[in-house]
C-alpha cells in the first residue's frame, strides 16, 4: 500500500450564530499512486467540504475540528501558507466548481494556463506559452490559438471546462482533485470532456480523485469508489465490487434511485427524503433517519468502517452483524 494522499479522521464544522453545521464527521480515505478514485454521495454529503478543507481552501467561516491530511510525507493541515502554495497547483491540481480557484473571469484563458508554470518557475515565458497551447490542443479546444486570447465568458460550457483542466494540469501535478468537473454539461459534451481528461491523466500517470454524484460517470472512469454520507465514508470498494457486490444500505439506495433507460416503467426504489444537515455530530449512523433497515443500535452507536474483503470496507451495523454470523 502506497497512499499518495490520505485523509485521516477529518472533522469540519461551520459554527453559526444560532447553530453549528457538522459537515464532515471523521472522514478517512486514501488514494494510491496511479489510482482513479471516485467520491460519490448526494449533495450535502460532505464531498466538497472535505476535499476543500483537506487543502485548506475553505473559507474562514469553517473550522477544522481534527484530522490529518498526508501528502508527500507532510500533513497539509499543519502547513503554513507558503509551503502549501508550493504544493497546490504544482503537485496537486484542483478543479473546483464555483470557487475562487476556478477560472478568473477578468483574465485571458491562455494567460491563466501559463500562470501555474510561471508561478512555480517551471519554465520561461515563451516556453510556458508553447506548453499552454499544446495543452489546450491536447484537451481538445477547437481553434486553440484563438481561444488562447479569449476570456472565459466567451467560451462555451464544454470549452470552459477544458480550459479549467488545462490550468489544473499545467504544472504537471502528481495528483488531480476534480469536483464535479462535468456535471453541468450535456451528456454529449460530458463524454468528450471525460475522454480527453482520462487520456491526459493516463499519459501523465496521474492520480485522480474525482467527485461526482453520477454513478454512471464514477463506474465508467474510476478504479475505486468511496461512498460518503454525513461527512463519513459509508462504503469503499473496487469498481467491480462496487458494481456487483456493494453491501451498504446507502449505496443500495443510491443505486436504486437511478432512473433506468430501458423503456420499461418499473417503480424506482428511491431513497426517501433528502440529505440531512447535521446540527449535532451524529451519535449513531448518519443515515439512520432514512435507512430502511435501521435498528436500535444504529441510533446510538456509530458504525465502524469494517474491512469485508480485500479492498472492500463498509460502515454499517447490519452488514457487520451479518458478516460476523457468517465468519
Amino acid at each position: 500500500m502506497s497512499a499518495l494522499f490520505q485523509i485521516n479522521d477529518l472533522a469540519v464544522s461551520f459554527p453559526g450564530r444560532d447553530q453549528t453545521v457538522y459537515a464532515v464527521n471523521g472522514l478517512s480515505l486514501a488514494v494510491e499512486t496511479g489510482e482513479w478514485l471516485g467520491v460519490v454521495g448526494e449533495s450535502g454529503s460532505g464531498k466538497s467540504v472535505s476535499l476543500l478543507a483537506s487543502l485548506q481552501l475553505l473559507s474562514a467561516t469553517s473550522r477544522i475540528d481534527r484530522g490529518q491530511v498526508w501528502f508527500d510525507g507532510r500533513d497539509l493541515l499543519r502547513l503554513k501558507r507558503r509551503p502549501l502554495r508550493e504544493i497546490l497547483g504544482r503537485k496537486i491540481g484542483v478543479i473546483f466548481q464555483n470557487l475562487a480557484n476556478g477560472l478568473d473571469p477578468s483574465m485571458r484563458v491562455g494567460v491563466q494556463v501559463m500562470e501555474p508554470m510561471l508561478a512555480h518557475a517551471i519554465c520561461t515565458k515563451p516556453e510556458a506559452r508553447r506548453r499552454a497551447l499544446d495543452l489546450l490542443t491536447e484537451l481538445g479546444l477547437s481553434d486553440p490559438e484563438r481561444q488562447f486570447e479569449r476570456y472565459p465568458f466567451e467560451l462555451s460550457g464544454g470549452m470552459r471546462q477544458r480550459a479549467m483542466m488545462a490550468v489544473a494540469l499545467a504544472a504537471e501535478p502528481a495528483l488531480l482533485i476534480a469536483d464535479e468537473p462535468t456535471t453541468a454539461l450535456d451528456t454529449t459534451v460530458q463524454l468528450q470532456v471525460l475522454s480527453v481528461l482520462q487520456e491526459a491523466c493516463r499519459r501523465r500517470q496521474m492520480t485522480v480523485i474525482m467527485v461526482t454524484h453520477d454513478l454512471g460517470v464514477a463506474t465508467n472512469v474510476c478504479d475505486r469508489v468511496v461512498v460518503m454520507y454525513g461527512g463519513q465514508v459509508m462504503e469503499n470498494a473496487e469498481i467491480d465490487t462496487f458494481i456487483q457486490a456493494s453491501v451498504h444500505p446507502y449505496t443500495q439506495g443510491l443505486k436504486g434511485s437511478m432512473i433506468p433507460l430501458n423503456g420499461t416503467h418499473a417503480p424506482i426504489q428511491a431513497i426517501e427524503g433528502s440529505a440531512d444537515i447535521f446540527h449535532q455530530v451524529p451519535r449513531g449512523c448518519p443515515f439512520v433517519a432514512r435507512c430502511p433497515v435501521a435498528f436500535e443500535r444504529c441510533h446510538t452507536e456509530r458504525p465502524r468502517l469494517v474491512s469485508l474483503a480485500d479492498g472492500h470496507e463498509a460502515a454499517c451495523h447490519r452488514v457487520e452483524e451479518a458478516t460476523a454470523h457468517v465468519g
Binding site: G253, P267, A270, S274
Partner: protein, 323 residues
C-alpha cells in the same frame, strides 16, 4: 393533427432579435399531445426546448404557425379568453427558488393563482391548499413554512402543487429535475407519474435527461437546433433510435456497466450545438454527423416514416429506404 388533441402545434417558428439579426429558436415544429398523454422533449441545451414549452402554453406567441388548445387557436382569441384558457395550461421550471415568492409562506405561494383568478372563498382556498400539499407528498405542516426552510426537492413539490391549484389539463415541466439529487429526482418522477392518473394530466416533459424522459413519456420528440428531427413512441425510440443525432444522444449516456472490463469507450459525437445564428445549411446536424454526405450540406432532409408512428428527418434513412 387530430382534432381531439389537447394541444396541437402546427408548423411553428419562433425567432428572437439578436443584434442586427434574428435567431430561429424554434423552426417549423409540429406536434400534438392528447388528453392525459405525456410527450417528452429531449435535445442538448440550445435546441429550443424551453422556447417550445413557452409557446405551447401561450407564454410566447409564434412568429409563424399556430398553437391550438382543445381546438382553439391561441393566436386568434381575445386576451381575456386567453387568460382563462391559460388556467388549464401551467408550467414548472428548473429553479423553484427563483419562481417562488420568498417573503410569503408556502401556503400563500400555492394560494396565489387562486387569488389572482378569484377562485373560491378563503376557507375553500385553504382546504384546497391542504389537499394540494398532500397530493404532492408534503403535509399541511409545510403550509406555514417559508420557502427557504425547505429543501430543493420539497420546493419543487411546492411548485407542482402551485401549478396544480387551478386544475390544469396540461403541465409543461421544463428541466424540473436538473437541480435535484438522484434520489429526489426519482421521487419527483414518481409523483408526476401518480398525478398523471389521479389528475388526468397531460405533460410536455422537457429535459436533457434522456432516462427521465424515457421513464415518464408515452412519446418522445428529439430536437436539434430548433427543429424536431425524430419522434416516436417511447419503446420504439429506446429500442431503435433512427436519426444519427438521437443515436448519438443515447450513446452519450454513461450507464453503470456490468463490470470494469465491460466498459464502453468514451467516444461520442464531436463538437457542440452550433450557434442558431450560424445555422448550418441543409441538415443542421451535418457538422457533427458521422454519416454526413454531400446532399446533407445542401438540402434539408425529408420526413420519413421509419416505423409505426415513428418518423425521422435524415437523408441517410432515405437512402436506406430507396436502396
Amino acid at each position: 393533427m387530430s382534432d381531439n388533441a389537447l394541444l396541437a402545434i402546427d408548423q411553428v417558428t419562433k425567432t428572437f432579435p439578436w443584434g442586427k439579426h434574428r435567431i430561429e429558436a424554434v423552426r417549423r415544429v409540429s406536434l400534438s399531445i392528447g388528453t392525459a398523454e405525456t410527450l417528452g422533449l429531449v435535445g442538448e441545451s440550445g435546441s429550443g426546448k424551453s422556447t417550445l414549452g413557452r409557446l405551447a402554453i401561450g407564454l410566447l406567441a409564434p412568429d409563424r404557425g399556430t398553437v391550438t388548445v382543445s381546438g382553439v387557436n391561441l393566436g386568434a382569441v381575445a386576451p381575456r379568453t386567453l387568460r382563462t384558457m391559460r388556467q388549464t395550461l401551467q408550467i414548472v421550471f428548473q429553479d423553484p427558488g427563483a419562481a417562488l415568492n420568498a417573503r410569503v409562506s408556502v401556503a400563500a405561494n400555492i394560494l396565489e393563482p387562486l387569488v389572482v383568478h378569484n377562485i373560491g372563498t378563503r376557507d375553500e382556498r385553504l382546504r384546497r391548499v391542504g389537499r394540494l400539499l398532500e397530493r404532492v407528498g408534503l403535509t399541511t405542516a409545510h403550509g406555514p413554512a417559508m420557502p427557504d426552510e425547505l429543501s430543493g426537492g420539497q420546493l419543487q413539490r411546492v411548485m407542482i402543487a402551485r401549478a396544480l391549484a387551478l386544475g390544469p389539463k396540461l403541465l409543461v415541466c421544463d428541466e424540473i429535475l436538473s437541480a435535484l439529487d438522484l434520489s429526489v429526482q426519482a421521487q419527483v418522477l414518481s409523483l408526476l407519474d401518480d398525478l398523471r392518473t389521479t389528475e388526468d394530466l397531460a405533460y410536455l416533459f422537457i429535459s436533457h435527461n434522456l432516462s427521465a424522459v424515457a421513464y415518464l413519456s408515452d412519446r418522445i420528440g428529439v430536437m436539434y437546433l430548433g427543429e424536431l428531427v425524430e419522434w416516436a413512441p417511447t419503446a420504439a425510440l429506446v429500442a431503435a433510435p433512427k436519426h444519427p443525432y438521437t443515436q448519438a444522444l443515447f450513446q452519450s449516456i454513461l450507464e453503470v456497466p456490468v463490470s470494469k472490463a465491460a466498459r464502453k469507450s468514451l467516444t461520442g459525437i464531436p463538437g457542440e450545438v452550433p450557434s442558431a445564428i450560424d445555422r448550418p445549411s441543409g441538415c443542421a446536424f451535418h457538422t457533427r454527423c458521422p454519416l454526413a454526405m454531400d446532399i446533407c450540406r445542401q438540402e434539408a432532409p425529408p420526413w420519413l416514416t421509419v416505423g409505426d408512428q415513428h418518423q425521422a428527418a435524415c437523408h441517410a434513412l432515405a437512402a436506406v429506404e430507396e436502396g
